[in-house]
């Protein structure tokens, strides 16, 4: 029989952190929701008026940026999966003693500031760069021969910046895969392709879904890549929120828009957690929970 004092220990340990998260994550979301129901302008002053029309208004002005965010983030996620899966597979099964070194290369971008990496891409994709001239020779550039300020540049930047978030969960699930199952499939006369599609892919599905979420969500909200690598025609929903908050200071509309984004992401994440648990984000199985 545990004493009351002992039973309170976990709450004392959790207390400070949970309070911090409640006060500086949950409560701010509430205030953002409330701010979304204000009306007025910076000059005339804002007033709480249950202005629910802010939500449809915020959406209707920005369909283009919203659709673009879905398209850019979706394409970047798909590309990251296509680049990341073979790489994660190679690291998990073929790397031998280079495994640690390769994993190190995967997280190496994190050692350089995000902003500086993106600015480096701006240099790499600038008009006189050798990479751009290769692309021009291959006729892969649009009419004017520029790469910067195109959708392609923004998608490439997003893919690059969020690729590690795809590779790491993929690697984790491939690493845990029991290779004997693939051998068994081959013993039963399945081709390499069938074994891959019917055994490897389904068994690593949790890693794929986790990687897709961890890539899509930050890419969807990002505005740095669109700002630095795109032009005026490439702005995403993140750019709109940033500009409404920090430049135009139209707080109610900005709050409405980011509240809707949060609602969308939260729905996706909660549905995912409902089916797969928190493992993808926490890394390991829930110890005490399974011990019950």
């Amino acid at each position: 029989m545990t004493s009351l004092k002992q039973r309170l220990i976990p709450y004392w340990l959790l207390g400070p952190g949970l309070l911090w998260l409640v006060f500086f994550f949950v409560v701010p979301m509430y205030f953002m929701g409330e701010l979304a129901l204000y009306s007025g302008s910076l000059r005339s002053g804002f007033e709480f008026t249950w202005a629910f029309e802010n939500f449809p208004n915020a959406l209707s002005g920005h369909e283009e940026q919203i659709l673009r965010s879905f398209f850019y983030a979706g394409t970047a996620t798909l590309l990251a999966l296509l680049i990341g899966y073979p790489l994660a597979y190679a690291i998990a099964f073929r790397a031998g003693r280079y495994k640690t070194l390769l994993l190190f290369a995967v997280i190496a971008p994190f050692f350089t500031t995000y902003l500086i990496r993106t600015i480096a891409w701006k240099t790499i994709l600038s008009d006189d760069s050798p990479i751009v001239s290769v692309l021009q020779t291959l006729s892969l550039t649009p009419g004017d021969g520029r790469v910067l300020a195109t959708s392609g540049a923004v998608i490439a930047g997003l893919t690059y910046n969020f690729l590690p978030f795809m590779i790491l969960p993929l690697y984790a699930s491939l690493e845990r895969l029991d290779v004997r199952l693939i051998e068994a499939a081959k013993d039963l006369y399945s081709s390499s392709r069938t074994a891959f599609l019917k055994v490897t892919v389904p068994l690593t599905m949790p890693g794929i879904v986790a990687g897709v979420l961890l890539t899509f969500i930050p890419a969807f909200g990002d505005y740095i890549n669109a700002e630095l690598l795109g032009g005026t025609g490439q702005s995403m929903i993140g750019n709109v929120i940033q500009s409404l908050y920090l430049n135009q200071r139209d707080y109610p509309e900005a709050a409405a828009l980011s509240f809707l984004m949060m609602a969308l992401i939260l729905t996706i994440v909660l549905v995912y957690i409902r089916f797969a648990g928190t493992e993808a984000f926490m890394g390991d199985e829930d110890d005490a929970e399974t011990a019950k």
Binding site: P10, F31, A108, Y114, L214, I217, P218, S258, E289
Partner: protein, 287 residues
């Protein structure tokens, strides 16, 4: 076998390593570009990809000659150190509670830790700004600390938690059997054993904090951190010193990460040598 067929067979055999090599190259390109351009003898006032003027160490020597840059870097280091200290302390406590204790509300606690990691930064930044506007709270260093601790906590919990899972509790029980108080057990047995995880978590928190642009952009007021400085000057063309500094920071981070990794490997090897604990009849069982 004909030559094209042999080339094809070789390509098929080597396709995966070649593809993986290209992917790794893709990940490393910008880092190499930043390092090379920190040595290029061309003032980067405009966007260009030329190294025609040869190489120089000038910008490495004058790395700390821009006062605004120094100040921003100093602010970032101070901020990251403070945020890391707070987030690591309270995050480690949370991880211990989650792994070691069963209690009501675990599920909610887990959810509260996971959701911030899955929230786009722009939403975190915007919601905090909404609250600070509502409370008429002056933006500056304090609001930055609040925000940075907030987004670091979850990552600290995840890293420390993974270290605590699969942790041999016999050592703690042995300490308790030998008369150590719970606090002594924690300080002398548990903490040294989870220390590599705590250090890794602290390094991650530091890296996240010093790298953060989006959330800081919303909540900094007039305070300028290193990423905010870079953003400000990027519109005019960044000084080459920034490239040199970024390369230096990369090297420091890479060496630090390699050391932690090496330390962990060594600890694992040493743990593997240790004999398996023997169950002695009559001793108290795990609670």
């Amino acid at each position: 076998m004909s030559v094209p067929a042999r080339v094809w067979a070789w390509l098929r055999h080597k396709a995966l390593p070649i593809y993986a090599g290209l992917a790794v190259a893709y990940m490393l390109i910008p880092i190499v570009v930043v390092a090379v351009f920190s040595l290029g003898d061309t003032p980067k006032d405009k966007l260009t990809f030329t190294l025609d003027d040869g190489f120089t160490l000038e910008y490495w020597e004058s790395m700390f000659s821009i006062p605004e840059l120094n100040e921003a870097l100093f602010t970032s280091i101070k901020l990251a150190a403070l945020a890391t200290l707070i987030a690591t302390a309270i995050g480690t406590a949370m991880a211990i509670a989650l792994v070691r204790h069963r209690f009501h509300g675990r599920r909610v606690a887990n959810l509260l830790i996971v959701i911030p990691m899955a929230t786009p930064e722009v939403v975190i930044g915007a919601s905090l700004l909404s609250m600070f506007i509502y409370a008429s709270f002056a933006l500056g260093f304090t609001t930055l600390v609040i925000a940075h601790v907030m987004f670091c906590i979850s990552f600290v919990v995840v890293v420390v938690r993974s270290r605590l899972i699969g942790f041999n509790r016999n050592l703690e029980e042995a300490a308790a059997d030998l008369g150590a108080t719970p606090f002594q057990t924690f300080r002398l047995v548990t903490l040294p054993l989870i220390l590599p995880g705590v250090i890794a978590a602290a390094m991650l928190a530091f890296a996240l904090s010093i790298d953060d642009f989006v959330i800081s952009n919303f909540n900094s007021g007039t305070t300028v951190t290193f990423p905010l400085y870079v953003y400000g000057v990027s519109l005019r063309g960044i000084p080459v010193q920034v490239n040199a500094l970024a390369t230096l920071l990369f090297l420091v981070a890479a060496v630090a990460a390699a050391l932690v990794l090496w330390q962990q490997r060594r600890a694992e090897k040493m743990a593997a040598v240790r004999p398996e604990p023997i169950a002695i009849p009559g001793t108290t069982a795990a609670q």
